[in-house]
């Protein structure tokens, strides 16, 4: 069966230990988490956990059902085949001596990213977008030499 990346959006109690229950369950059942983002929602007692996992349909169904059994989990949306907006945030620290700096600035503008720090030989770029866009940027920047990357987990909301 084909494995695919799935974005699960969990609405959970904003209580201590809930994240441990969720991640523990996923790893216990033998799955790897590709990315994870957690934050409080419009209701301060409720958090949204966005988990990206790679799994086939059967495995995904099993993860989802097991997550549903956690008393602190209220709702689970699978955004994989649903219209949704997905964003990730990445910070790239790129090797940027004077001779390539201009070129880099142009690239950053094309991607509508932001330069948030400039050093003697480096430049830090902040970019948001979906995984594909950020991957494309990373591939391009790699030619210049990426010193460091910091990346958040994916966050998603359904459209409309």
């Amino acid at each position: 069966m084909a494995t695919q990346q799935h974005t699960l959006s969990l609405i959970v109690d904003n209580k201590f230990g809930v994240l441990a229950r969720i991640t523990g369950l996923i790893s216990r059942r033998g799955f790897n988490i590709d990315s994870l983002a957690v934050g409080v929602t419009e209701d301060p007692t409720i958090s949204r956990v966005t988990v990206v996992v790679t799994a086939d349909e059967v495995a995904l169904e099993q993860i989802t059902k097991q997550l549903h059994k956690l008393i602190n989990v209220h709702k689970i949306n699978d955004f994989t085949n649903e219209p949704s907006v997905d964003r990730e945030l990445v910070l790239f620290k790129i090797h940027a001596p004077a001779d390539t700096r201009h070129e880099l600035i142009e690239l950053v503008n094309v991607f509508r990213a932001k330069i948030i720090d400039v050093g003697k030989n480096s430049m830090t770029v902040e970019a948001t977008g979906n995984s594909e866009k950020l991957q494309a940027m990373e591939d391009l920047f790699r030619g210049y030499g990426i010193k460091e990357i910091a990346r958040t987990g994916r966050i998603s909301l359904s459209r409309g």
Binding site: G17, A20, G24, K65, Q66, H68, N72
Partner: protein
């Protein structure tokens, strides 16, 4: 600072003492109808124990090891349909319960474990007797609580009991830091109702699926029911019998369901799976419709999943949606309580007045029942498992008896040879296979069933894992009877070494230490030993007739194996101890 003198406290009536977390906890347990707590005190639960001092409704049973507290609570819960309650201290007191909690989790038994914890400000500092019990137990609980505000204590207890006993039952842990137990709180009565919006188990089966199930069952010519532990926890015995009889469907059982279908019934097939008899294993494998109720298709039941019931459509009824499709493919899932769903299917079936279509299937199954299983060599000097169980069956026929088992060969022999007289009379550690379960479980069973004969069937390996509980039985006057199938080896493991590791016996043989009859006497029990086949029956009769706790050590040969046995990874039709030719001969044309 508390300036009360000891006298002040002693002179005050319980109701006048200041309400604190500990007292609110005990009041909540009383309101919940708890009559027994299995526990062991320690530093962080002293306030709770102090509150128990005043309770007239709750009896505290002081076990001798915290693991045993959970097994005793399980024995209690498994035989009286009420959750078992455990109280232990923080650190090692709590970590000692983990095996018991795992056992309850694997077998879906409602147990509430209340554990002390270091005070809230000390959590995370590696304080004396601190262990992250909440974290340690996370994989083996249905839900858990760490109380950080005394106001949350009473509602959490209400939630814990609700969660443990509803839906698919299971263990719930409540960690109570010592300062929470001391904290002043207003106790405004125990809440009558609780609403947990994210927890709503499904009881009633989907009406369309119920109809589809009925229609599949009516049409099937080679159907078989696999009854699991869900039949027991939902009390669906008569629903099961109704359907089986209406459509003449034979019933195979998992270990957890033993006793849920009358053993002398012509539709009864017995235990299936790794140590199942030929009839249930062949019936499931050759059937055209499997109706699985309240079972999670453990690998001990299915054998090689890819070759499990290959020709059958599978209806899977379970209260836990996550069990459906987890281990085997399912053609028709029904999420719901076994009793609710089976009674709905029965009603649906009655409407159409179906004619059973299984007469030739049942004839075939009767042929499979005759397929022989390898027996131990005849030796007039050696006591066999079958001889012991013949005596037990005969002598317990007229008694109201509940059996508990430890884990190993004796457990499988018991499942094969013992005549279970009804539901909740054969109590065993199924999913976890916990050695050391039987004796403390028997203790809890005896407390819940003071007038019944409670017999713990044990091996000489497993009995030692919680043998200290003999002291608990003596102290509380629990007349538990223990029969040790003593073959001076860890028989089940040795059997694997014999069959699958070319008889390279490693770390399995046990010397006959201790002398169990003598040990029994040291614990204040009656103890005896038998090694002569002619004296077995008399010895068991004497054991059953003994007042108070008693132990019988039966010396057997280490060469007797459990048959049939299916090697892990093989299909359940490939049974060691059964001749394939016999199966061939017993199978009519068209079914091979």
């Amino acid at each position: 600072m508390d300036t009360r003198t000891r006298k002040d406290v002693q002179n005050k009536a319980p109701e006048e003492r200041p309400m604190n977390g500990a007292r609110a906890l005990v009041a909540s347990l009383e309101a919940e109808g708890v009559d027994t707590i299995f526990g062991y005190p320690g530093g962080t639960v002293l306030d709770i124990y102090d509150a128990l001092y005043d309770s007239k409704k709750i009896k505290h049973i002081l076990v001798r090891h915290e693991q045993a507290a959970v097994h005793a609570a399980e024995g209690y819960a498994r035989t009286c349909d009420k959750p078992g309650v455990v109280l232990v201290t923080s650190g090692p007191g709590s970590t000692n319960t983990v095996t018991g909690i795992t056992d309850a989790y694997m077998d879906s038994i409602p147990v509430i474990v209340i554990a002390g914890q270091v005070s809230t400000e000390a959590i995370g500092t590696d304080a004396f007797q601190e262990a992250d019990f909440l974290g340690i137990t996370m994989p083996v609980i249905k839900h858990s609580y760490l109380i950080k505000d005394v106001k949350d204590l009473v509602p959490s207890i209400k939630e814990a009991f609700h969660i443990a006993t509803t839906g698919r039952p299971g263990p719930v842990v409540i960690c109570v830091p010592s300062d929470i137990a001391k904290a002043k709180v207003k106790y405004e009565g125990y809440p009558e109702k609780i609403k947990i919006s994210s927890y709503r188990p499904t009881y009633k089966g989907n009406a369309r699926q119920v109809k589809q199930a009925a229609s599949l069952m009516e049409k099937a010519t080679k159907p078989v029911i696999i009854a699991g532990g869900g039949i027991v926890s939902s009390g669906a015995y008569s629903d099961l019998k109704n359907i089986a009889e209406l459509l003449q469907i034979p019933v195979a059982e998992t270990l957890m369901a033993r006793g849920c279908f009358p053993v002398d019934h012509y539709l009864h097939l017995g235990q299936m799976g790794m140590h199942g008899m030929p009839a249930p294993n062949l019936a499931v494998s050759r059937s055209d419709l499997v109706i699985a109720v309240g079972t999670r298709f453990s690998n001990r039941v299915t054998g090689d999943v890819s070759r499990f019931a290959q020709h059958a459509k599978i209806i899977h009824i379970d209260i836990d949606p996550a069990e459906i499709g987890k281990n085997v493919r399912v053609d028709l899932p029904i999420v719901g309580d076994a009793h609710e769903v089976l009674s709905a299917i029965f009603e649906q079936l009655q409407k159409s007045e179906p004619q059973p279509k299984t007469s030739s299937w049942l004839e075939q199954i009767d042929e499979w029942r005759k397929v022989g299983v390898k027996e131990p060599e005849d030796d007039p000097k050696i006591i066999t498992a079958e001889q012991i169980f013949e005596a037990i069956n005969e002598l317990s026929a007229k008694r109201d008896v509940i059996f508990a088992t430890e884990v190993g060969q004796h457990q499988m022999w018991a499942s094969r040879f013992l005549i279970n007289k009804g539901p909740r009379t054969f109590i065993t550690s199924g999913g976890a296979g916990t050695m050391g379960f039987g004796l403390p479980a028997a203790e809890g069973i005896q407390i819940a069933n003071p007038d019944k004969l409670v017999v713990c069937l044990a091996g000489d390996g497993s009995i030692q894992m919680n043998i200290q509980e003999m002291a608990t039985c003596t102290e509380y006057g629990l007349p538990v009877k223990v029969i040790i199938f003593n073959n001076s080896t860890l028989g089940m493991v040795r059997q694997f070494q014999e069959l699958f590791y070319m008889k390279r016996y490693v770390a399995t043989d046990l010397p006959r230490i201790p002398d169990y009859a003598l040990l029994a006497k040291a614990y204040g029990w009656t103890g005896s030993m038998v090694d002569d086949p002619k004296k077995v029956k008399g010895a068991i009769e004497q054991l059953f007739d003994t007042e108070g706790p008693a132990l019988l050590d039966i010396h057997m040969s280490k060469d007797e194996l459990v048959y049939p046995a299916v090697k892990g990874g093989n299909p359940i039709t490939k049974m060691i101890g059964v001749n394939d030719a016999d199966i061939e001969n017993a199978t009519s044309e068209g079914r091979r």
